[in-house]
């Protein structure tokens, strides 16, 4: 196999990671596996560990947001180019940061508020968002701890739960108007700035994550202004995303709103309905970055400008 200076950062190997490793192998590329659980990185200017010898690019597929964002930041400090960059992972892995970036870029979202106390959250719900509304944890995925607040009584109960049982991350209350979507939402895959595929995720349940059993069907990629392709590409750009999946929802008037951007997207259920070789495209993007980056001996200068600042 061709020795290419790419390392693949992953602990838990989901079907997606296996498909990506297979795509590298099909291209004759031997990537080095890195598992963050077995990695200790220098923070004091000491030399990098031997696992990083010859590595110029890290393809991040870690399932753990906290570990990934820290590891990538340190790796970038060692001059290693990361896909996605640490700043992108930081922006995507925290819904508050994602929304702030989207708002700054003028990307349409459902009405969304951030509160830091139960009292202020209830006021915002009563006076600005109305019911039903949705409370989401700032950090989290797969629909976990996402709560639909049908009325003030539900809101009081869930907010009290978060206050008493949650940890400090649950004190940032991310509240959103509930969108009466037509039994589906849209996931669009953006690679290198281009929306390459999209699926509808259909479910009778109001949570339409495939991790929660939603069915998938191909969604046409409409590149016209405000269409799926255009909006997803703009959302990806807003977070600096190189390879991301953008979740969108159709509002009652048919307009599209962006819900979130995923930096380590799952795509196992999207290849067949779209007919698009998503793992192949992702790997080709990383390899193009590696070719552009050059050999690892050029890695003494940070690769990504502004990577340390969200």
């Amino acid at each position: 196999m061709e020795p290419v200076p790419v390392a693949f950062l992953a602990s838990r190997v989901r079907p997606e990671e296996k498909l990506l490793l297979e795509a590298y192998a099909r291209r004759g590329v031997a990537v080095r596996r890195l598992d963050e659980r077995r990695l200790a990185l220098p923070l004091d200017g000491s030399p990098p560990p031997p696992e990083l010898d010859g590595v110029a690019v890290v393809h991040d597929r870690s399932v753990a947001f906290g570990a990934a964002v820290h590891a990538l930041e340190v790796l970038e400090g060692l001059g290693i180019r990361c896909v996605n960059p640490a700043a992108v992972v930081r922006a995507c892995g925290d819904k508050v940061r994602t929304s702030a970036r989207l708002a700054r870029a003028g990307i349409p979202q459902p009405p969304t508020r951030l509160a830091f106390s139960t009292e202020e959250a209830l006021r915002v719900l009563d006076e600005e968002l109305g019911y039903p509304a949705v409370l989401k944890p700032a950090v989290g995925s797969w629909g976990r701890l996402v709560a639909r607040l049908n009325d003030r009584h539900a809101a009081e109960a869930v907010l009290e739960d978060r206050e008493v049982l949650g940890n400090w991350t649950h004190r940032s209350l991310y509240l959103q108007r509930f969108v009466r979507k037509p039994g589906r939402d849209v996931r669009a895959f953006v690679i290198g700035g281009e929306t390459v595929a999209a699926i509808y995720r259909e479910s009778e349940h109001w949570v339409t994550n495939t991790a929660r059993g939603a069915r998938t069907r191909r969604c046409p990629v409409d590149g016209t202004a405000g269409g799926v392709g255009d909006l997803a590409a703009r959302a990806a750009r807003a977070v600096g995303g190189e390879v991301v999946a953008v979740d969108l929802v159709e509002d009652v008037d048919g307009s599209l709103l962006v819900l979130e951007v995923n930096h380590s997207m799952e795509f196992r259920n999207s290849i067949e309905p779209t007919g698009v070789d998503l793992p192949g495209l992702l790997v080709d993007f990383v390899l193009a970055v590696a070719r552009e980056r050059g050999p690892a001996d050029a890695r003494r200068t940070p690769a990504v400008a502004g990577a340390g600042t969200p």
């Binding site: 992953a10 596996r33 399932v63 995925s141």
Partner: protein
């Protein structure tokens, strides 16, 4: 074939199993991680953490 670390039932792993892959024991349902492919070794997979996801 390899034994489940929890209930000792025999498991058939995919021929192309890789380190980090998670398999479920058909008998006791526990999730096991492939921690080594040579020699083949399994360990109880970590619980899903709050920050895990996409």
């Amino acid at each position: 074939m390899i034994a489940c670390t929890e209930c000792t039932s025999s498991l058939d792993l995919p021929a192309d199993a890789v380190e980090g892959e998670v398999v479920a024991c058909a008998d006791c349902g526990v999730e096991l991680e492939v921690v080594s492919t040579s020699p083949l070794a399994l360990a109880l997979a970590p619980e899903v953490d709050e920050d895990w996801g996409e």
